[in-house]
Symmetry: C2
Subunit: 229 residues, 2 copies
């Protein structure tokens, strides 16, 4: 599958690019600068070796040529980046926003969140892109360190929110291609208001225990993935 990672030179985005590249997908790392995107992709190909299909370019070019686009940018620049992407994204593109509105965006603490006007960062993104794209949200609670340790199976689940069940299942299919990673359908896009804030809770847990990669597994069922019926 053709996957773009907007902001893919950042820690979370680069980790995701590695994992999806390793799984055999055609990954394009987008960056504000074409050179940085290309350099990051070269780095990814070196790490992955062999036939990994990872390229790098601008965010706009990456967004215009993919089936699924992950947006992994800090909340402080998220709205600007979506506005810049808007005219490049093709209708029908599935978008997965991974942004958490941490208070660091306004000089606050990483274990605090601020409340976007639209309720969540994902709903803000949907409001900017408007119709034609299929918006989902996920990966808020997935540690960048864990994603980048590509030889270690994942030990946390992705909370996926969205109003389009089919789009969630496509994103979920990519998640299932990452070893031991599962996805849980958390309901409508507005539930991202909760899922996004959970990043800050994990940062608080990390502080308490002096670790970097706490995460969540969801219990109550043996398997998750697409709900039946």
């Amino acid at each position: 599958m053709q996957v773009a990672i907007i902001g893919g030179t950042g820690e979370e985005g680069f980790g995701l690019a590695l994992r999806l590249g390793k799984a055999g997908h055609q990954v394009v790392i987008g960056s504000r600068s074409e050179e940085k995107g290309a350099s990051s992709a070269e780095n990814a190909r070196e790490i992955l070796g062999g036939t990994a299909d990872v390229a790098g370019t601008t965010n706009e070019a990456a967004a215009g040529g993919c089936e699924v686009m992950f947006v992994t940018v800090p909340f402080g620049g998220q709205a600007d980046i979506y506005r810049a992407l808007k005219e490049h994204v093709r209708p029908g593109t599935i978008v997965c926003d991974t942004t958490s509105p941490l208070a660091t965006a306004v000089g606050g603490k990483a274990w605090h969140v601020i409340r976007p006007w639209h309720g969540s960062a994902a709903e803000q993104a949907a409001a900017i892109l408007q119709t034609g794209v299929r918006m989902t949200a996920g990966f808020h609670t997935i540690s960048a360190d864990a994603l980048r340790a590509i030889d270690v199976p994942m030990d946390s689940d992705v909370l996926v929110c969205g109003d389009d069940a089919e789009a969630k299942a496509v994103v979920g299919g990519l998640i299932e291609d990452i070893p031991d990673m599962r996805w849980v359908d958390c309901g409508l896009l507005s539930q991202a208001r909760i899922a996004e804030s959970m990043t800050a809770l994990l940062i608080s847990v990390n502080r308490q225990y002096k670790i970097h990669d706490s995460g969540f597994r969801i219990t109550g069922r043996d398997g998750w993935g697409r709900p039946v019926g």
Copy 2:
């Protein structure tokens, strides 16, 4: 340990009373009505059998005679109950608020939350009780069904928030007495703003999969409990 469960006739509170009674603690179930408290305690003793030490009385009497008090009431009545308890709680009592501000309190959906003026239900409780009690928050993400199935080990972790590390450790000790239940120190009491909202996310997950008892395990460490150093 002498433990009071305020609102202990409700599903979550009754489940917690069963688990802590089974673990050998001296449990008092509090209710708005002394008769209902007593009847619920009788029910608990029948379920637990043997020497289980579970009594029932009014919320006020239960609050006045305990070392640790769990408050398991719906958000709609939470402030009134704390105001009624205020003059009965002894200085130094450790309080664990389990309330989630679900939108059902104002006629909304159980998978939506409202925002209490103080930030969280737990901070509202602390503002009402004021000084002298040691406030913590936890159990928001623990299914009442799972608590009540006393022969089944727990499969979810308790997110404990609070400004008093010692008080969190005392609550944590009670949690560790419940088979396979762990507690994670999530930081200051204000982090309950996030932990409380996670109840609504689990209710949304339950709706998607038509289940009743989803929960969270925290990953990233083999063990949790009291942070060292």
